[in-house]
Every structure is written in structure tokens, then in C-alpha cells.
């Protein structure tokens, strides 16, 4: 199977996120990390490739920076990457993102395209479905378990109350939830090999896509914060304070 995994480099979630006050775009530093959500997609891709003697190509849109995040995914074992890095794509919306990713993937005729269900930084949660429609393929979304048998892909699709089993023939898009598999850690050899793997860089113009923006952030204001509560160190009577609060709330 020829597999593509959509992966995103994001600012390290451990450091506070900031908006550029002029454009309201998220500030993206040179040093970015692989979105944790996408480690699951990479692992699923590698497992299916392992079973089917396939290949895994990473596809990513965004500022390359020092490629740290992409190298993380290559070090896990992906074979190569296509990166779309273009100043004109700054602040693009989910649909533009999907158009770029789909245009980069279309010529390669992948059997399976894998994405996360939502990213950590933007979490619009619709890019995978937009890509599926652009590529004209079925979407098996919110997978918490995946099996491939011949050219049929089956998943357990997360629902609010449990899961559905759904299936579709390739070519197909699969979006995976965190927890679907245990992502592997890169080995030392993996990290060394990652440096030599091919990373192809393209621009929006190379893909024939012009960027349109149809939404404008009008206002960003601090949310009304909750009135400060009381924080006390437990001296063995913490439970009594909780009971007093529960009585105040009239739930006991």
C-alpha cells in the first residue's frame, strides 16, 4: 500500500501560545515540534506499510523552520516527506489547507491517506473531510481501531455512545484518534537515517493554488475570568471545606 500521512509541525504546546497582534495569526517559531496527535497517524501508517510492504510519505503544509517536527516523524520510520512552505499561505483557513494538501497528494495516487481527527493548535477538525471530498474518496473518520484486508479498510469509528464498525474500499482517507495505537519512539538509527531521507519542498504556485481568505478576525478580547476562588492547603480537614461548599451549592 502506498500511504500518505498528513502531519503538522506546531509550536511546542508546553510553551504559551501567542497571537501576532497585527495579523492575529499564531506565532510560529523556527523550532517546532511534531503535533502529538499526528504521531498516532504516523504509527498507523507505518504498521499498515509494514503489513503490506508499503511506503509512508509525510505531507505537511506550514513554515519549515528547522524541520524538527518532520524529522521526528521521519525518525519513526516514514520514507520521505512533501512539504508545502509558502509565505502566501500564512494564516490560511482549513479549506485552503485541505486544497494544498490534496493538490500535493493527488498526483501520487495514494491508497490510504491518514490524518489526525483535529490538530492541537488550530483544532478546526474538518481538514481530513475536506481532503477526502477534494480527492473524491470515502472518509473513515475518528478511527479507534483499524484493519486492512486486501483493498478493504475497516475501522471502529468513535461515536458519542460507543463505536460503529465501518468500512470502505481503497483509495480511502482515514482519520485517527489519539490512543488508536501506541506510537513508537525513534531509535538512534532512525534518528540518523532521518537526516538522509528525501524532503521535497513546494509552493502554492507549484500546485496551482491561489489563496483566498473569506474570514476576518474582527476582535480578540480576554474572556471574563471567574472570580478568584480560595485555595487552601489540606491540613487534614480539607474534606470539611468541600462539604461546606456542597451545602452552599445545595447539592447535599
Amino acid at each position: 500500500m502506498k500511504i500518505a500521512v498528513c502531519v503538522k509541525q506546531i509550536p511546542d504546546p508546553a510553551s504559551p501560545y501567542q497571537l501576532d497582534p497585527a495579523t492575529y495569526n499564531l506565532v510560529r517559531p523556527t523550532e517546532q515540534v511534531l503535533d502529538d496527535t499526528d504521531r498516532y497517524g504516523v504509527e498507523v501508517g507505518l504498521q499498515i506499510a509494514g503489513e503490506t510492504e508499503g511506503t509512508v510519505t509525510l505531507v505537511s503544509m506550514g513554515p519549515s523552520g528547522n524541520l524538527n517536527g518532520i524529522r521526528q516523524a521521519l525518525a519513526m520510520g516514514a520514507d520521505g516527506a512533501i512539504l508545502i512552505d509558502d509565505e502566501a499561505l500564512k494564516g490560511s483557513d482549513s479549506l485552503t489547507t485541505a486544497k494544498i494538501l490534496a493538490a500535493a497528494m493527488a498526483p501520487e495516487s495514494f491508497d490510504i491517506v491518514i490524518a489526525g481527527t483535529e490538530s492541537t493548535d488550530g483544532y478546526s477538525g474538518v481538514v481530513p473531510q475536506q481532503i477526502a471530498e477534494l480527492l473524491g474518496v470515502p472518509a473513515l473518520t475518528y478511527a479507534k481501531k483499524i484493519d486492512v484486508e486486501g483493498s478493504t479498510v475497516r475501522i471502529n469509528r468513535q461515536t458519542a455512545t460507543g463505536y460503529d464498525t465501518i468500512e470502505a474500499p481503497t483509495p480511502v482517507l482515514v482519520s485517527v484518534t489519539a490512543g488508536v495505537v501506541e506510537p513508537r519512539y525513534p531509535t538512534f538509527k532512525g534518528i540518523m537515517d532521518a537526516k538522509k531521507k528525501p524532503v521535497e519542498t513546494k509552493t502554492a504556485a507549484d500546485l496551482g493554488i491561489t489563496v483566498t481568505v473569506n474570514q476576518r478576525i474582527a476582535l480578540v478580547v480576554p474572556a471574563p475570568s471567574r472570580s478568584g476562588g480560595q485555595v487552601v492547603i489540606d491540613d487534614g480537614t480539607g474534606h470539611e471545606k468541600i462539604i461546606a461548599m456542597l451545602e452552599q451549592a445545595k447539592v447535599i
Partner: protein, 315 residues
């Protein structure tokens, strides 16, 4: 003119759809795109919450139907030209909305918590764990597509009568429409539902182990509370996903939320910070959950919870 997309869940309109309809009907938006088998009871519920017109989209047997629904809606859009279409930020709604945005070549705004439909369409979203509010305006031609988070508005009956229902033909979506449903499994849950409970006791990794979660369940019993969880312990397999509270889980607004051994990560906070009262127990004084707590106890859950449970059981 705005439309509201509502998925059928267990034979009834999804609650998030009724929440959105309760809001939009006050601005004259009462047309629903209803996706599911449908029944007189389901249509009556839509009418009760203010729907006057329903376009009924029925998935063909065994199909997930989402690709066909997007195709059918884009045909309806060409005929009627609505200004906006609102969806819930839920799984099936996202599947349909994403495909629809591609078909119509229209941008969409996700994670809305408020929407204004008079004149230009604007959406309010929360970012950075709800610490900042963003207002985004659509520009260019409609329909403008919006995904609204559950619990953004209260669902309130308007006492309306039955709506006019029009069944919409579902086009053949070809290969894109070839995903099929082969089975459906519902996890057994006991006690009050998370979304409806007046009290929620939620636990995180600080409970130490799956056995630690029993403390949460034992505390919930005398309070008739529902139990909730962070993604960390759902991923660890301690509790099923249906208990997850947060950005990728449920949004809850109970009277009291008791957070036990959970840090209060941004993605957890967005799902519970609008609870009326928040009580947190965490051994780390710096834990972000304390910033939203009305009462914070800096302490060990294994010390505080057993005493609390005993005191409540003895009342």
C-alpha cells in the same frame, strides 16, 4: 436566512441541534436539515423547538450517508441560497460540513460558542483554553458555514407545532460515498448522564491507577453524580471514552464539578470551565485547575477523598 443541520441520534434529534435551533429561532432561522431515518416523533420534537420547515435527508441502507448528504445539501443551496448553515461541533456534523465546504468552496468557522446572523455573519470562538474570545466575521458570498460547540446555548422548547417536512433526494456520491456501516456498539453506562448531571466528579492521572478511579465512583454515589475523566486516563484505558470531558470529549455545565487529581490542561478546561461551581483537589499548588476553582484543596486525593466519602456516607 440560515439553516441548521441536525443529525438523528438514537432516533431523536441531536441535543446540540436543538440548542442551536433554540438560539437561531429568535433570529428567524427555523429551517432544519435533518439527517437520519426520521419519524413523526422526531419531527414533532423539531417543531416543538421552533423548526417550521424540515428538509429530510435519509442515508441509504448501510451507507454512512455523509458524502451523499453533502451533495444533497449543495443542491438545496443552489436552489434556495441560504446565508448561513450551522452545524454542531460533533463527529457526523463535521463529516458533512467538511465535505460541504469543499463542494461549495466556502470557508468554515469551527468551535463557535456564539453566532450573530443579523446582517453579516459573525462567530465567537474561544482560544487558549477559553482565556481569550475571538470574533470572526465572514466575508464574500455565502452560505457561511459554522460549527457550534455543544452546550453553547440552552435547549428550550418553544411549544411549536409540527413542521413542514420535505424529503430530499440523496444523490449517488460514487466512490466518495462508498463507506458502509456494518455494526454499531453502545457502551453500557450506569447512573446519570454526564451532559445532564447536576454534579460531576471527574478524575485524572493523579488518581494513580485504574483502582484509584474507584474513589471517584464512590464519591459520586452519595452525590448522585456522573463521573468524568481526562483524556490522559481515557487513553490509558482506565475508563471509556464516553466519560471524557474536554475539547475532544464532552462539554459539561453542571452545578458542581469536582476535579480530582487532574491538572486542568487547556483542552480539559474548555469542556468544564463554565460549571457553576468548581472544586479541585490537586497536590500541586501550581496546577492550572486552581485558577478556575471556587475552592481548591492542595492535597493528596488518597487522603482527602476517603475522608470526604466517609463523611458523606455517614450523613
Amino acid at each position: 436566512m440560515a439553516w441548521i443541520f441536525i443529525e438523528e441520534v438514537s432516533g431523536a434529534p441531536a441535543v446540540v441541534g436543538l440548542e442551536i435551533l433554540s438560539k437561531t429561532r429568535t433570529e428567524g432561522a427555523t429551517t432544519v436539515l435533518y439527517f437520519g431515518k426520521g419519524s413523526d416523533a422526531a419531527f414533532a420534537t423539531l417543531g416543538e423547538f421552533g423548526a417550521t420547515d424540515v428538509f429530510h435527508l435519509v442515508p441509504s441502507d448501510g451507507s454512512t450517508g455523509t458524502a451523499a448528504a453533502a451533495a444533497a445539501i449543495s443542491d438545496l443551496v443552489a436552489q434556495h441560497q441560504p446565508d448561513a448553515i450551522l452545524f454542531g461541533q460533533t463527529y457526523t456534523d463535521r463529516d458533512v460540513a467538511g465535505r460541504l465546504s469543499t463542494r461549495l468552496d466556502r470557508t468554515m468557522i469551527s468551535n463557535g460558542i456564539d453566532v450573530s446572523l443579523d446582517g453579516s455573519v459573525g462567530v465567537t470562538t474561544e482560544i487558549f483554553g477559553g482565556s481569550q474570545l475571538v470574533t470572526t466575521m465572514f466575508e464574500g458570498p455565502g452560505p457561511h458555514l459554522v460549527l457550534i460547540r455543544p452546550k453553547s446555548f440552552p435547549a428550550e422548547s418553544a411549544g411549536g407545532g409540527a413542521p413542514t417536512v420535505t424529503t430530499v433526494p440523496m444523490p449517488d456520491a460514487g466512490h466518495a460515498g462508498s463507506a458502509r456501516v456494518t455494526g454499531s456498539f453502545v457502551e453500557k453506562t450506569e447512573g446519570p448522564k454526564l451532559e445532564e448531571a447536576a454534579v460531576i466528579v471527574a478524575g485524572g492521572r493523579g488518581l494513580g491507577s485504574v483502582e484509584g478511579f474507584e474513589l471517584v465512583e464512590r464519591l459520586a454515589a452519595p452525590l448522585k453524580a456522573a463521573t468524568g475523566a481526562t483524556r490522559a486516563i481515557v487513553d490509558a484505558g482506565w475508563v471509556p471514552y464516553s466519560k471524557q470531558v474536554g475539547q475532544t470529549g464532552k462539554t459539561v455545565k453542571p452545578d458542581v464539578y469536582i476535579a480530582c487529581g487532574l491538572s486542568g490542561a487547556m483542552q480539559h478546561l474548555v469542556g468544564m470551565k463554565d460549571s457553576k461551581m468548581i472544586i479541585a483537589i490537586n497536590k500541586d499548588e501550581e496546577a492550572p485547575i486552581f485558577a478556575v476553582a471556587d475552592l481548591g484543596i492542595v492535597g493528596d486525593v488518597h487522603q482527602v477523598l476517603p475522608k470526604l466519602i466517609e463523611a458523606l456516607e455517614n450523613r
